[in-house]
């Protein structure tokens, strides 16, 4: 095994890790804000990929061009999810909350299969194709671009939450909802904003992935699982934690696949997850 091959695994692990991180950040933001786990997160990712796909196939918009539309659509989807479903279960028992978002995931997936069939689809001839070579390492251009965009989105999310007034209000609502409400911050609106941003993150990731990934109705399942692992690794509700955790997962997945056996990729990730849950259940990293 040459140095190049290992370097190749590290680079591709890093690149996928950034995408996992952004997807996880959306999940973490929603959880941190209102203590609700979005079990439909993977389906939301799937919807964002289909949005990007249909914009390409029906309107001829390249995924790179349609990304703002996909993000807006997903943000709208987040707002609707909050006002049509989540706000009715905010005070419900945890089991009911789990059933609600889990039920939503089944609903979205079944609806997608009904409307679009379970076929695998791809975007032909996207604007961004091919790969570049550096130091013996090959990097797919769409993958590289997707990861850079995800990282940028991540930085923007972080700055938004920590540096803006609305971000401050989101943090306050996350830390003590009643106290925030008493000060004049309407928590319902904050929750809707949280959902919009959370699913907006998914929209960025999904839109970029359409460039090089198969688009099908079950595509979100594994990504959602990794997002849950990332949130647990990073510390529930911690956004920065998601970045580190996403990268760790990407690296473990690709290096484990290279050094041991690629067919057990998932196993390595979940082994890490179990270790963290057992030895450091609060997660590896701090808040925000």
């Amino acid at each position: 095994m040459t140095f190049e091959i290992i370097l190749q695994a590290i680079v591709s692990g890093l690149l996928t890790g950034l995408i996992y991180a952004l997807i996880a950040a959306g999940l973490s933001l929603i959880f941190g804000l209102m203590n609700i786990v979005n079990f439909a997160h993977g389906e939301h990712l799937m919807v964002s990929m289909f949005s990007s796909f249909w914009l390409w196939s029906l309107l001829g918009l390249d995924p790179l061009v349609s990304i703002p539309i996909t993000v807006l659509l997903m943000a709208l989807c987040g707002v609707l999810t909050h006002y049509l479903l989540i706000r009715y279960i905010l005070k419900a028992k945890m089991l009911i909350q789990i059933c609600a978002t889990f039920g939503l995931s089944i609903f979205i997936r079944a609806l997608a299969q009904f409307l679009w069939t379970p076929d695998f689809r791809t975007v032909d001839k996207p604007l961004l194709e091919g790969r570049i070579e550096a130091a013996g390492v090959f990097i797919g251009q769409p993958q590289l671009f997707a990861s850079v965009v995800c990282l940028l989105a991540f930085v923007m999310l972080y700055l938004f939450v920590t540096k803006t007034e609305t971000g401050l209000a989101l943090q306050a609502t996350a830390q003590d909802r009643e106290a925030a409400e008493i000060l004049g911050i309407p928590s319902n609106r904050m929750f809707a904003i949280g959902w919009a941003i959370g699913l907006g993150c998914v929209g960025v990731a999904g839109g970029m992935m359409t460039n090089y990934f198969f688009i099908f109705t079950d595509v979100g399942v594994n990504f959602a699982l990794f997002a849950f692992v990332a949130v647990a690794l990073g510390g529930f509700g911690s956004i920065i934690g998601c970045l580190y955790a996403g990268i760790i997962i990407g690296l473990v997945e690709s290096l484990g696949g290279l050094l041991i056996d690629p067919s057990f990729k998932l196993l390595y990730v979940f082994a890490i997850y179990l270790l963290v849950v057992i030895y450091k259940p609060q997660g590896l990293f701090g808040r925000y």
């Binding site: 401050l168 209000a169 943090q171 003590d176 009643e178 106290a179 008493i182 000060l183 004049g184 911050i185």
Partner: protein, 235 residues
């Protein structure tokens, strides 16, 4: 009348905890709400903020019916509520906590001046402005909670157990601060367990027992009142 509560009943699910309570606060007045543990003092403040709804009765603020207005509209109307046990945002800095206190438009417009006033009133908060709230001492957090309430430029400041866990020295400071606030024309409605202390500072007092008002009146008439003693010491 600034705040006027008329004959409210409050229930947690089916469990009634407040019966037919009426209470009012005039402008520039300091009013104490007294009663033993579990008598419903916090529940009344929380009802005024509409954290809990009430059955029967009405709540008026500045002669407008506010019973069904959502909680987040209270600061805009001029009601600041310092919740029981401080409830500062633990992972935000002192300054961030204070800024969040001035959320509604009017308060936000004069945020910088308010901040200077607050720092004059609580110099410690200025020195600690970048410290995370949860690393402050209990007494400092209490000051922060009250200061955060004042940042909303209230006409009525409601404080639930302002002196809990404060040393006598700090209590004395806090009483001075309360008097300053009232002198500026802001009304204060506060909950307190220590009857003598509360009546020494308040203009008037209300005494609750098991969710019912048993006696109300000017502080001077309530101190050493037998009925009041009975409520707190039992029969």
């Amino acid at each position: 009348m600034l705040l006027d509560i008329k004959n409210i009943d409050v229930l947690y699910d089916d469990f009634q905890v407040i019966w037919d309570v009426s209470l009012n606060v005039q402008q520039g007045e300091m009013v104490a709400l007294l009663g033993p543990n579990g008598s419903g003092k916090s529940t009344i403040l929380n009802t005024i903020s509409n954290l809990i709804g009430h059955k029967k009765g009405q709540i008026f603020f500045n002669d407008a019916l506010i019973s069904n207005q959502p909680t987040f509209t209270r600061t805009r109307m001029g009601i600041s509520h310092v919740l029981e046990r401080r409830r500062v945002f633990p992972h935000l800095s002192v300054l961030q906590n204070l800024l969040l206190g001035a959320w509604h438009e009017k308060a936000r417009a004069s945020r910088d001046e308010s901040l200077q006033d607050i720092y004059r009133l609580f110099p410690k908060l200025e020195a600690r402005s970048h410290q995370l709230a949860h690393t402050m001492s209990g007494g400092e957090q209490q000051m922060l909670a009250i200061a955060r309430g004042l940042m909303g430029l209230p006409k009525l400041l409601m404080v639930d157990e302002p002196f809990l866990g404060l040393s006598p020295m700090v209590v004395k400071d806090m009483i001075g601060i309360f008097k300053n606030i009232v002198n500026e024309g802001i009304s204060i409605l506060f909950v307190e367990q220590n009857v003598r202390l509360a009546l020494s500072m308040a203009d008037r007092g209300y005494v609750l027992e098991s969710g019912r008002l048993v006696i109300a009146g000017d502080s001077v008439d309530l101190v050493d009142n037998e009925k009041v003693l009975k409520v707190f010491l039992g029969n």
